[in-house]
């Protein structure tokens, strides 16, 4: 939602995911689950607003590095806090049965897709797209680029926070290393590149096939699966710059021929 149109690649999802996980861990015993999820989203939103306002001036690789750093920063902050203030590093989260987890995740996913769809087809989406191409030109057309980037960043963080809170109930035991796992940041980026960033459904297609591939390889080739997976990713990035969706569109164009040729 944020990275697609603007071209800003964020490795911060894990940070907000972790915030969600910890919100669930701290408040899970005192508050009902829906309240915890909402709160996790709200905390992530506020944190992202703050972080975004401070850092969205950064561009390109600097922004990527910062967001990656944010995950580590929060990880070590929580680690320090738990060790010096609470005295333990792990926490237990009240568990919920799998069906509930499934439907909650589905609901968050649906809400996310709806929000993303509406943003993309609104004035805001148009502005985000313009930022992605010529940020300064967008500003000179009256787009408040900093505010817009920050808000979109925060909205997408909200969903990561909510998802974190739900996942925490499934894990039941968490510690900072589990909650703030950088892999959670890398996976969505890889999935999105794999599926294609240009279209809204690109990352979904990417995620679905990616996950299936992951499971398939791990059961078939338990020893070499990471190696094979790596090769597939390299090939995908080299030869499918627009991802699976882009590849499918290209093929479709070739099949349907001149009818859809560019004019």
């Amino acid at each position: 939602m944020f990275s697609g149109p603007t071209g800003y690649i964020s490795l911060a999802p894990a940070a907000f995911f972790g915030v969600g996980v910890y919100t669930a861990a701290v408040l899970g015993l005192v508050l009902p689950l829906p309240a915890v999820i909402a709160l996790a989203g709200a905390v992530s939103f506020c944190l992202a607003l703050l972080v975004g306002a401070l850092t969205l001036r950064l561009r390109g690789i600097y922004f990527v590095m910062f967001t990656f750093g944010l995950v580590e920063l929060l990880l070590h902050f929580v680690l320090w806090w738990e060790m010096s203030i609470t005295g333990t590093t792990g926490r237990v989260v009240p568990s919920v049965d799998n069906t509930t987890v499934y439907y909650l995740m589905l609901a968050i996913f649906a809400a996310l897709m709806l929000t993303a769809y509406f943003i993309r087809h609104s004035k805001m989406g148009l502005a985000l797209q313009s930022i992605g191409e010529h940020e300064e030109a967008a500003a000179h057309r009256g787009v408040n680029v900093t505010a817009l980037k920050t808000i979109t960043f925060a909205v997408s963080a909200t969903f990561m926070g909510a998802a974190g809170a739900v996942m925490a109930t499934r894990w039941t035991y968490i510690d900072p290393k589990i909650a703030f796992n950088p892999l959670i940041s890398f996976m969505p980026v890889l999935m999105a590149i794999f599926g294609g960033m240009g279209k809204l459904y690109g990352p979904i297609v990417g995620a679905a096939i990616f996950t299936y591939l992951d499971e398939f390889l791990i059961t078939r080739f338990p020893y070499h699966y990471m190696l094979i997976f790596g090769i597939i990713m390299v090939v995908a990035i080299l030869y499918m710059p627009d991802g699976l969706v882009g590849l499918a569109q290209k093929l479709w164009k070739q099949i349907s021929g001149a009818k859809y040729a560019d004019t």
Binding site: A139, H140, R141, T263
Partner: protein
């Protein structure tokens, strides 16, 4: 009251004074030409007026209001629009969306989607691109992309339009059409300041021209050396 005034405007890049203690003013309804060699600070001056850069010292007033240090989007909403030396249209968007963007965000007042689209269609006609309404911006020729950029800037309903080398890279016919367009923009009550290297263009349409020399000697007073150059 002049529509645009600058006093002692200065900008340094490292040790280099790109624009040094420049005063200028532009009157409503004129076409002002900015000429001078590369590196004289013409584009830097545009960047300072449109707030892409903040001046080190000096003040810039638009319609009597101090706009020094405001954000670019604020200045755009106040009524200053610009184009870029290297044409910056949004190639991933349609021609119409390129214009609608300015209508939505660049104005002081709110506009409905339907109105914005209708006005964008009119603007396309105004700049002579009505045939390209449904096209993608990336498929336009350079001359047409420049027209589209102007249309997008006009969509913000500016009172002052800054055109940075609009004629560069165009052939003779295209230059003639661009000149005619600039005149029509002025006739609609918009003040135009244009940076231009195509002397024929600037000599025939500009009310007055200012010659910019290299940084240190930047002439004071937006010098009104009408149709005169010195090297």
């Amino acid at each position: 009251m002049p529509i645009l005034e600058g006093e002692g405007v200065t900008k340094h890049f490292g040790g280099l004074a790109a624009v040094s203690n420049v005063d200028f003013h532009a009157e409503r309804g004129e076409i002002l030409g900015l000429i001078g060699p590369n590196g004289a600070g013409k584009t830097t001056l545009f960047n300072l007026i449109s707030a892409a850069l903040t001046p080190k010292s000096g003040t810039i007033r638009f319609k009597g209001v101090d706009i020094t240090g405001l954000k670019p989007h604020k200045i755009c909403r106040m009524g200053v629009a610009r184009t870029f030396q290297s044409v910056k249209v949004f190639t991933t968007m349609s021609v119409l969306d390129n214009i609608v963007l300015g209508s939505f965000f660049g104005r002081a007042t709110h506009i409905s989607s339907a109105d914005a689209r209708r006005e964008a269609t009119e603007l396309l006609e105004f700049v002579g691109l009505s045939g390209a309404k449904a096209a993608q911006a990336k498929d336009l020729t350079l001359a047409n992309q420049k027209r589209l950029e102007v249309a997008g800037a006009l969509a913000t309903k500016p009172e002052l339009l800054l055109l940075d080398e609009m004629m560069a890279g165009l052939n003779a016919t295209e230059v003639a059409r661009a000149m005619e367009l600039v005149t029509r923009i002025r006739d609609n009550g918009i003040t135009v300041i244009m940076i231009e290297h195509v002397m024929k263009a600037i000599m025939s349409i500009a009310t007055e021209s200012s010659f910019f020399t290299t940084a240190k000697k930047s002439l004071k007073g937006f010098p009104r050396i009408s149709q005169r150059t010195n090297g």
